[in-house]
């Protein structure tokens, strides 16, 4: 008699507790996203992009900066360094779920696309004053914060420009005295540097290296080389225009580096991570590449035989947009509109864009400050910084500031990546093929 009753009781007890436990755990799961804000006189979360040579370097650099902030304000900051491959998706998930960090870094070319989501605090009025006002920023850098005519939803944090980085030792060996200034000189040098160094009849040193499947880099190349060829990716009123002659010629110049010109190893068609490119110079696999701030990677590899020059121009006497040598590249910082602790978040942004922090952080990341006072600091007067400043001041344009920029980068970059894949497999890709690929990309663009 006692056994069944015990069983019955136990069974009921088990059922009821399990219902309670499961419902509670379900509810807990629903609300866990908001945790952390309650106890916070200040705890905020910060998603940083990977700027250093490794995530641990970022954690060290930013950890020190955060410590200075916490010591001063008492606000704690939980840092997460998000790799580039994940950052865009993480932001997107955060925007759609409303569960994100308080402060986050974005690639500045995404600024308009993310602005359109309305998920970020616009920097105007009190918020702008709280970080020192618009006048403190380098104007070209601030202009990347969002669409023209609207309050920016991101502030520039690190400024960068593309440059041509080259292995000085290889240049010397090939008898090249100075960096190429025009596209023709660049091709001639690249061909000279593409050779078989060990006599096994296989080319083992290439003039140039690129990441064929790295979508963003391909889109940036389409932008810069397109401009140099007289084409722009969007019409003035914001309609995608990928198939104009200028853009097609620019993309063609880019993909033929691997195709007709043969100065890029076909194995580069597989690379989808741009951070391996400095290693190609260090290892002697290639002599030149385009990049924004590889200094810290060279430093961590203890490699000094490199120099930087502006990206060569298609036409030596070009002026205006045809003299574009870079986009106004950089990393911006935004505050999530859903943040439970906006004041603390804005204070933290103010800390990041303060003159002292700008000097320290940009020195560590070999980028340029986006705050004028720090930008003019003698610490950023090295020849490379000087050259980058000149590029940013006179030869750089922001990526198109339209809400569909994000899609454009994905679709154009992907189309170019597929052209590289075809070339790598032995196919001859013509300018017509380039046009068709871009046409197909454009068809997938949302009407904007």
């Amino acid at each position: 008699m006692s056994a069944p009753s015990f069983k019955g009781k136990l069974g009921r007890f088990a059922a009821i507790t399990s219902i309670a436990a499961l419902s509670l755990s379900g509810l807990a799961a629903c609300s866990s996203g908001n945790s952390g804000s309650e106890e916070a006189g200040g705890t905020i979360t910060y998603w940083a992009s990977n700027q250093g040579s490794s995530i641990s370097q970022d954690e060290k650099v930013l950890g020190e900066s955060i410590k200075r902030f916490t010591d001063e304000t008492g606000i704690k900051v939980e840092l997460e360094v998000v790799p580039w491959a994940d950052l865009y998706n993480r932001i997107l998930t955060a925007v759609s779920s409303g569960e994100g960090p308080d402060v986050l870094n974005i690639g500045n070319t995404w600024a308009s696309t993310l602005q359109a989501s309305g998920a970020f605090v616009p920097w105007e009025g009190e918020a702008m004053e709280a970080v020192g006002g618009a006048d403190k920023f380098v104007p070209a850098a601030l202009a990347t914060g969002g669409t023209v005519g609207e309050a920016p939803t991101s502030l520039p944090l690190y400024s960068m420009a593309y440059g041509l980085y080259y292995n000085t030792k290889m240049f010397e060996e090939a008898g090249i005295k100075e960096a190429p200034a025009t596209w023709d000189e660049f091709l001639a040098d690249a061909k000279k540097l593409t050779k078989d160094t060990d006599g096994d009849k296989n080319i083992d040193q290439y003039g140039f290296t690129l990441a064929g499947q790295r979508v963003a880099n391909n889109a940036h190349a389409a932008f810069i080389l397109g401009m140099q060829n007289g084409g722009e990716l969007y019409t003035q009123d914001g309609k995608p225009d990928f198939t104009n002659d200028g853009v097609v010629a620019g993309v063609n110049d880019w993909v033929q580096l691997m195709g007709e010109e043969g100065v890029v190893s076909k194995s580069n068609a597989e690379i989808n991570d741009g951070s391996v490119l400095p290693g190609e110079l260090v290892d002697g696999n290639a002599a030149m590449f385009f990049d924004q701030a590889p200094g810290k990677s060279f430093k961590s590899a203890d490699f000094k035989d490199y120099a930087m020059a502006p990206i060569p121009l298609k036409n030596a006497d070009a002026t205006g947009t045809e003299a574009t040598k870079s986009l106004v590249a950089g990393i911006n910082v935004s505050v999530f509109d859903n943040s439970d602790n906006k004041d603390a978040a804005i204070k933290f942004v103010n800390h990041l864009v303060s003159v002292d922090e700008q000097k320290k952080l940009n020195a560590a990341y070999t980028s340029l400050p986006s705050v004028t006072e720090a930008f003019d600091d003698p610490a950023f007067d090295t020849p490379e910084s000087q050259a980058k400043k000149e590029i940013l001041n006179d030869y750089a344009a922001p990526m198109p500031l339209f809400p569909s920029e994000g899609q454009m980068e994905s679709l154009v970059g992907d189309a170019v990546g597929k052209l590289f894949a075809r070339i790598a497999q032995g196919e001859n890709v013509s300018e017509d093929d380039v046009r068709k690929a871009l046409e197909n990309a454009q068809k997938q663009m949302p009407a904007s």
Partner: protein
């Protein structure tokens, strides 16, 4: 411990008064009715929360124009009716043509992977069902791909198939000297082949495990009788083994088929966010539309079409091969 009032009366026990007995019975019936629901409620609740509601939301999204303009407040995203379906299913449009290509490719991929994985599984299971020395060692060895996290193994495969430094090309070019130049395994047509290899490697141990369990339930006497009657090994396999594991097979093929058809991690880890044209499967295509191109409405429409297609195929399959009105074990 004394029995509480709610305990169901047992026939062998002295019955209390009639009305009391009736009351007890009523409450016990009530409880018996409630009890199964109480037990299944947590599961139902979680099923609703984790599967059903998100699925319905996914269907709803397919009717919205959901882009970066509306994602932060997607409840208010504009309703566009069937527009997303028209875009997704227009065979002449850029998205529709990709969709139909991917659909056909995914079917072929599923047939190949399930076919090869099943064949390997049954082969190994038949070998290992009989007892011999080091049998346990092989069983464990064969389960390794299934036990390892697919992330780790797929990334290892991607390294192996890398054109310049990968082990496969090193072996083919430097060691064996069969080829002069290492081919690209992760670009172009070969990428499809690589995807099949990795998927088979990952899925066949599951087929092996299920089939081995099914084979172990066949009594040895049946085989003994058959061999006494002079049946060859092949005949024993086709006339005894296959029919007797039919039900396990039916379930196995359905599960494998659905898993492989919906495969996402293998292509994503091998090729990154954008698969090569020649090996874009359905799930990565939906991901590309949604997350690379910020077109969640079209991504949703593609998902709904996929869901319906799989539902129809599964329903036919179940009606066709599952035993009707009988227990699966008989």
């Amino acid at each position: 411990m004394s029995a509480p009032a709610q305990t169901p009366p047992r026939t062998s026990e002295p019955v209390p008064s009639r009305s009391a007995a009736r009351a007890i019975k009523r409450s016990s019936i009530k409880r018996d009715r409630f009890f199964p629901y109480a037990l299944s409620a947590p599961a139902a609740f979680l099923e609703l929360l984790i599967h059903i509601i998100p699925m319905l939301l996914g269907v709803w999204i397919a009717f919205l124009s959901l882009t970066q303009f509306s994602i932060a407040n997607w409840v208010k995203a504009p309703f566009v009716g069937l527009q997303n379906f028209i875009t997704a299913l227009d065979p002449n449009g850029p998205i529709g043509s990709q969709f139909f290509d991917a659909l056909g490719r995914t079917f072929i991929f599923t047939l190949l992977v399930v076919g090869i994985a099943w064949s390997l599984g049954i082969f190994a299971a038949v070998l290992l069902v009989s007892k011999f020395r080091s049998n346990g060692f092989f069983r464990t060895l064969f389960l390794v791909p299934y036990a390892l996290p697919s992330y780790v193994t797929t990334i290892a495969w991607a390294f192996m198939f890398n054109q310049r430094d990968g082990m496969v090309n090193r072996f083919l070019v430097d060691d064996l000297g069969i080829l002069d130049e290492g081919p690209f395994w992760l670009l172009g047509e070969r990428s499809f082949f690589v995807m099949v290899v990795v998927a088979v490697w990952q899925f066949w141990p599951f087929a092996f495990l299920m089939l081995l369990a099914a084979l172990q339930s066949i009594p040895n006497e049946v085989y003994e009788a058959a061999s006494l009657d002079g049946a060859s090994l092949w005949k024993q396999f086709t006339r005894i083994t296959l029919p007797m594991i039919k039900h396990a097979n039916v379930v196995l093929l359905l599960m494998l088929g659905l898993w492989v058809f919906n495969q996402f991690d293998i292509p994503y880890l091998l090729f990154g966010p954008v698969s090569p044209e020649e090996s874009t499967l359905i799930s990565p295509l939906i991901y590309q539309q949604s997350f690379n191109n910020w077109n969640f409405g079209v991504g949703g429409a593609l998902s709904v079409v996929l869901l319906l297609a799989l539902l129809v195929v599964s329903a036919f399959y179940i009606r066709l091969v599952m035993p009707k009105g009988k227990s699966i074990d008989d």
